[in-house]
Symmetry: C2
Amino acid sequence: MPRHVDHVARRREVVEAAARLVAAQGRAALTVRNVAGAVGFSTSVVSHYFDDVDELLHETYSWAAARARVRIEAVLAADPGDVAGVVEAVLPLDEVRRDDWRVWLAFWSEALSTPALAEEQRDRARTTVVRLERSLRVRQAAGELPLDVDVRAAARRLGALIPGIAAEALFDPTSWGPRRQRDVLHGELALLGLQPPRAVAKAAG
Amino acid sequence: MPRHVDHVARRREVVEAAARLVAAQGRAALTVRNVAGAVGFSTSVVSHYFDDVDELLHETYSWAAARARVRIEAVLAADPGDVAGVVEAVLPLDEVRRDDWRVWLAFWSEALSTPALAEEQRDRARTTVVRLERSLRVRQAAGELPLDVDVRAAARRLGALIPGIAAEALFDPTSWGPRRQRDVLHGELALLGLQPPRAVAKAAG
């Protein structure tokens, strides 16, 4: 390999190609040969960066999780109380977010029998619930969520709705398009008595 | 093969062994050799019943779905309005239901790239929502659910909570034990204004 290769960029390129492969064709398509073909490198270059396909699968999972985290953090930076925004940042509402879910689901079945991977999924889910709880408290403090709402329980329910809506949408994209996904989410927020997002309220007012 | 073999029973035995394998060790463990070993048949007996591992995986999925359906139908036969019972019949509240979910999740990642499999998952999810909607209407007609509740929307939300709670529980069994799973479900039912199950009300009264 030439000396001036940017190894970080190249490794990342391999991970992105792997993620696209898994999203388009499923877990079974993730082979060193396929990834090498997709990214235009030799199989030995791919093997240089990853010990095996398991490591590569793990990296694609983390890559999708990292870009989801960027979306969530952007939402929270704009408005720490944007509960709906946090959930929508990880619902499969467009191609990018659908691809993330395809990668995660491919990973789930292996995570069930691989403790280290299960832990990564678990930690991600816990972090999401903590974030939702914080955002709900922001809204409660602002008088936009009734004080008698059990915020922790509400955050857990919203956290569980995320993979649930995602599963429905991935297997039934015709019925579970962006509109129904949002309806289900906003129906839950309305039940909680959460006032509509401030931006919307402002635009309407 | 001897003439008197009960082929239906034997095929079923193979499917059950395959399901146990997938539940315990994940999709990757599902090979003709492993299934044959687990069930004590030769690989040629297993191959006699199934064209390939894909067919066997599909059958394990259907097998888990069928036993879940039996549980749901038993709940509805006892009480057509037992909304919580329908959901609990498919939450991973015990080892049997956890195993069902392990089989389904193993199947999901392949279903994403296999339209016929995705369709089976989609139909199951749609059937669940229809059942939940019917049970909610039974409760509404009995005056146990406020008339202003949008039953269809509520059924969709409950339907989405099922795979969502299951995903949380599978990857985080310590935090998401049976108690928290039920709390999340019953929290949602309380938000809807659904009266507690009649059996419980009777026992308490």
